[in-house]
């Protein structure tokens, strides 16, 4: 506003006000011709003049009121211990929070004081309060707001003095800063570090939620109120009270149900938090629900997967489905099926960030291959094909089990039902509705799963079969939780139908899914149930019984119980042989599993025998050019290397390499592992030229297929560096090891175990180049990685220590 314009406005405003209201518009119109700038303003000012002045009066009045109330507040200026209360921050039924400062003011320190309850604590409650407080005060972590002090007021109310944190709640922070997924995960890992620290000190937070986790100006989180929930209420609440007191969205089912709260209750809350941070949504809307409703929603219904939930928000980046498994594992309603610790959750995030397979989806040896498949665009089409195949196959088993009289009729209705169902699904997945984006198999499956009951309400048998089929495809896609739900439904339907054969198959599918979810105990129980059922239905020596035995064996194997696993596997093998069912791939897979189990137990000669039997069977039934045969060849060769029978191993590896290229194409991702195996074999055989050729090929292959920035590529490069070190070609080794370290720096966390291997290789190179101080640094870095990532006394740590000693000794020798 220029003074000149303001003067013109002032004059025109005064003139307009002297006119009667009807005369003002023509006056302003005339003014608009002369002085449009002033006229526009005067029009608005005339309009504002007519309005009352509440907009001015009210806020000033209210400000005076709150100012007065504060002056009236008996707590303001009151002293508690070494602190003087300066301001009330909040008030509630159970207490109040104040801002305060140190009385002695040796240094300026603002603190928050939480007054816990306004009533006097009983003597024993006071003692407990003091004891808990001391534990909390002992916690010192950069990401945890420190409990500084506490006590009781003259009137006996307890109070806590806490570090006063200025920051933004973590969810608001992530939204405001448009934090990408990876950065969100790294921030979340810091939260995990703080919670894990508290757990090591036997303190459970019990009330983790965004409002309790502030992010400061440096982007670091600060966790507030550790253990305060327990401190405040040491008497068990009723479920009703708990729901009132806790924020139900973040409270675990066991907390809501008033059951014992443990460290995995915090894992649950962290899962919900991560769900919120990644998807921008809360998994449930629980506000106002009664406990029973909350329970039904949380325990029985379960949340929408975060990747689906995030589509509704403006979260920007599409959320990888892998993170679904991670988040949902953390927030599993059953405590024992969550990550066993916050550390385990954090480690799985590391795996995600470094592109490794997640524990959340592990349990099956085939997961890494599947993960690779997911990266390929063809995967969606493949999944759809599989899905249709599964649907069509759904009726297949029934033929043998249904009375012939009903068979024809059933088959006809089944075919029609499946066709109608499929057409309907694809019609709904109309690309017009998904606006040109690819429809994922997931979406089709999800729709199918939800609509099955409605469409086939009068045909429970077909419904059961389709449920199991959908479960199978979910499992194939790695969506084990969804798969388990489908299998459970199928089990229930089969139970009602009194269909033991179908029930056995659905139980078997459920057991597999549970194993993939890492729920080993439950998986074992389900397989045992299937085993007993099949024994009763088919007799002890029957193929279904053999299947159950081997499935149970695999669960035992996964649990590390190799003795039980081997016994079950051998029993299954015998039954298959007695039943004459040795012509199915299943038989060879069983041989192969037994061989792997023996290899892990270091029973190498027995392992060799089983690998040979499996290989022989594969060659008989499939010939050389089959992935099963290749796997058997490769694994047999690796056992021979362990047995130091290099000359026998060599032709096997060479054969695998040749067939892989020929049959699976030059880009088969596992091919570089075969090349690497060959390179290492030749290195052991001291055929260093050959070794170098294969190791270089392996690196080149990985660069092309996995990418030059992939940690797997870095891993293979380090292998080549070790060889070049052995050949004393340190200049070449140096540029390669620098490359590998740069890849790791960009892709994996600082405590990635293979970093130790890389640093050791680097130290050797630098020793070779006589750069002893740098070599010592590298060796010490290796040692640091070992300390952070590996158990104490690991051989890598010993090797790193030896290199530190060697470089130190060499330097002091050089100095003399």
């Amino acid at each position: 506003m220029t003074p000149e314009l303001w003067q013109r406005i002032e004059a025109a405003f005064a003139q307009a006000l002297e006119l009667v209201p009807e005369q003002r518009p023509p006056y302003l119109d005339a003014l608009a011709v002369r002085d449009p700038e002033a006229a526009a303003q005067v029009r608005r000012l005339i309009a504002a003049d007519a309005a009352d002045d509440q907009r001015l009066r009210q806020p000033i009045g209210r400000a005076l009121e709150t100012f007065g109330e504060e002056l009236d507040d008996p707590w303001i200026d009151r002293r508690l211990g070494a602190y003087r209360i300066t301001r009330r921050i909040a008030t509630g039924g159970m207490g109040a929070v104040f801002l305060a400062e140190r009385v002695d003011a040796q240094f300026e320190q603002q603190v928050a004081i939480k007054l816990v309850g306004t009533q006097t604590l009983a003597a024993d409650a006071q003692a407990r309060f003091r004891a808990e407080r001391q534990i909390l005060a002992g916690m010192q972590h950069p990401f945890i707001a420190h409990l500084l002090d506490g006590g009781t007021t003259e009137d006996g109310a307890a109070y806590l003095v806490m570090e006063y944190v200025v920051g933004e709640p973590i969810d608001a922070y992530c939204t405001a800063h448009h934090l990408p997924v990876d950065a969100t995960l790294r921030l979340f890992k810091k939260v995990c570090a703080a919670v894990a620290y508290a757990h090591r000190n036997l303190v459970v937070h019990r009330d983790l939620k965004p409002g309790n986790i502030l992010v400061d100006a440096q982007g670091d989180p600060k966790l507030l109120d550790f253990g305060i929930a327990k401190l405040i209420s040491d008497t068990p609440d009723t479920a009703e009270q708990t729901v009132q007191r806790l924020t139900p969205d973040y409270a675990s089912p066991e907390q809501i149900l008033g059951e014992p709260v443990t460290t995995v209750s915090d894992v649950y809350a962290l899962g919900v938090l991560l769900y919120k941070l990644l998807s921008g949504q809360r998994p449930y809307e629980l506000a106002g629900l009664r406990p029973a409703e909350v329970e039904r929603l949380v325990v029985e219904t379960g949340p929408i997967r975060p990747s689906v939930a995030s589509r509704g928000s403006d979260a920007g980046e599409a959320l990888p489905a892998e993170l679904d498994a991670l988040v949902l594992k953390a927030m599993n309603p059953e405590p024992e099926q969550r990550y066993a610790s916050v550390l385990a959750l954090s480690e799985d995030i590391d795996r995600y960030l470094s592109g490794q397979p997640l524990q959340a989806r592990a349990g099956g040896w085939w997961y890494p291959a599947r993960k690779f498949l997911h990266r390929h665009t063809a995967a969606v089409g493949l999944a759809v094909t599989l899905f249709i195949g599964a649907l069509v196959a759904a009726g297949y088993h029934n033929k043998t089990l249904t009375a012939e009289r009903d068979e024809a009729r059933f088959e006809a209705s089944r075919a029609q039902a499946v066709t109608d169902f499929l057409i309907d699904l694809f019609r709904q997945a109309n690309p017009n509705e998904s606006q040109g984006e690819d429809i994922s198999a997931r979406e089709i499956l999800d729709t199918g799963a939800t609509q099955l009951d409605e469409h086939l309400s009068d045909q429970p048998r077909i419904r059961a079969e389709l449920r199991r089929s959908i479960g199978t495809v979910y499992a194939y896609l790695g969506l084990y939780q969804a798969a388990a739900t489908q299998f459970r439904d199928a089990v229930a339907l089969h139970e009602d139908l009194d269909d033991p054969a179908g029930l056995g198959r659905s139980l078997s599918g459920l057991g597999e899914a549970l194993l993939d979810l890492g729920q080993l105990d439950e998986a074992a129980l389900i397989h045992e149930r299937a085993l007993n059922l099949r024994r009763q239905t088919f007799g002890d020596v029957s193929i279904p019984v053999a299947y159950s035995l081997s499935e149970l064996g695999y669960v035992r194997f996964s649990a590390g119980d190799y003795v039980a696993s081997d016994a079950l596997g051998r029993e299954a093998l015998t039954i298959l042989e007695q039943s004459g069912a040795t012509d199915d791939d299943y038989y060879s897979n069983l041989l192969h599993s037994l061989a792997q189990s023996l290899q892990i137990q270091d029973r190498l000669t027995e392992a060799e025998q089983f690998f040979r039997r499996s290989l022989e069977w594969d060659l008989d039934h499939h010939g050389e050019r089959h992935t099963n045969s290749l796997t058997s060849l490769h694994d047999l060769a690796s056992v021979l290397v362990q047995l130091e029978r290099f000359v026998e191993a060599e032709p096997l590896f060479l054969k695998v390499a040749a067939i892989e290229t020929d049959m699976l194409g030059p880009d088969y991702p596992q091919h570089n592992l075969t090349l690497n195996s060959l390179g290492q074999l030749y290195q052991k055989m001291e055929r260093l030229d050959d070794a170098e050729r294969y190791l270089r090929d392996a690196v080149e292959h990985a660069r092309r297929v996995r990418g030059a920035e992939h940690p797997h590529t870095a891993y293979l490069i380090v292998g080549l560096v070790n060889l070049l070190n052995e050949r004393a070609r340190f200049d070449e080794a140096q540029s390669l090891v620098d490359e590998a370290l740069a890849i790791y720096a960009a892709t994996v966390p600082d405590d990635y175990p293979h970093l130790a291997t890389a640093r050791i290789a680097q130290a050797r190179t630098l020793i070779g180049l006589s750069r002893l101080p740098a070599a010592e640094t590298a060796a010490r870095q290796a040692l640091a990685v070992c300390a952070a990532a590996l158990p104490a006394g690991h051989w890598l740590a010993e090797r790193a220590q030896a290199l530190v000693d060697e470089t130190v000794a060499a330097q002091s020798a050089g100095a003399h």
């Binding site: 001015l56 400000a63 009121e65 007065g68 939480k114 944190v165 409002g211 309790n212």
Partner: protein, 187 residues
């Protein structure tokens, strides 16, 4: 605290154009306002809300000799209004700052209501708008302060400022209209 005559001298000096005198007066008035407000809210008056008019008149009565001329009186009330405004703005700002860090501290206490943040924020918006008005028409901003922060009546304002009632009315209406329009545009 300096005694009354000294404060009156400071006020006269300021009226005569001595800015240093004004700067010395400001904290004295600020503290006195706060002190009187506190006393007004204390025990025997409990339940009362603060009345700016009463506060400002009491400050005047306590600090200033009654027999000063009208220019000095005008200066003093302007200063009181300004200090009253500053007192409330400082309070609102510190409440806002405390909340920023303190929000999360309410957590484990059952049923803590969201504190009414509205009035503090609104007051700061008004303060900001008044600052803008003062940039191109300081006198009108002063009049607004006198009316709303010192709570003076129209007649008192006329007496204190020496403006004719028609001039005062015209100026106040324009200032209010501009503020109302600005606040509306901001909301």
């Amino acid at each position: 605290m300096p005694d009354r005559p000294e404060i009156t001298v400071l006020l006269k000096d300021w009226s005569a154009g001595n800015a240093v005198a004004r700067d010395r007066l400001m904290p004295l008035v600020y503290d006195e306002l706060q002190r009187i407000a506190r006393r007004a809210m204390a025990g025997e008056h409990a339940g009362h809300t603060l009345q700016p008019t009463a506060l400002v008149h009491e400050v005047f009565a306590r600090l200033i000799d009654a027999d000063i001329d009208w220019q000095d009186r005008a200066h003093f009330y302007a200063l009181c209004a300004r200090m009253m405004r500053r007192l409330l703005v400082n309070h609102a700002e510190s409440v806002r700052a405390a909340k920023r860090g303190g929000d999360a501290l309410r957590v484990t206490l059952e049923g803590l209501p969201e504190a009414a943040t509205g009035s503090d924020e609104d007051l700061l918006v008004i303060d900001e708008a008044l600052n803008r008005l003062a940039e191109f028409d300081a006198r009108k901003a002063d009049l607004i302060e006198l009316q709303y922060f010192a709570g003076l009546s129209f007649r008192e304002m006329s007496a204190v400022t020496g403006l004719s009632s028609s001039t005062l009315d015209r100026e106040l209406r324009l200032a209010r209209a501009w503020l109302k329009d600005t606040l509306l545009a901001n909301s």
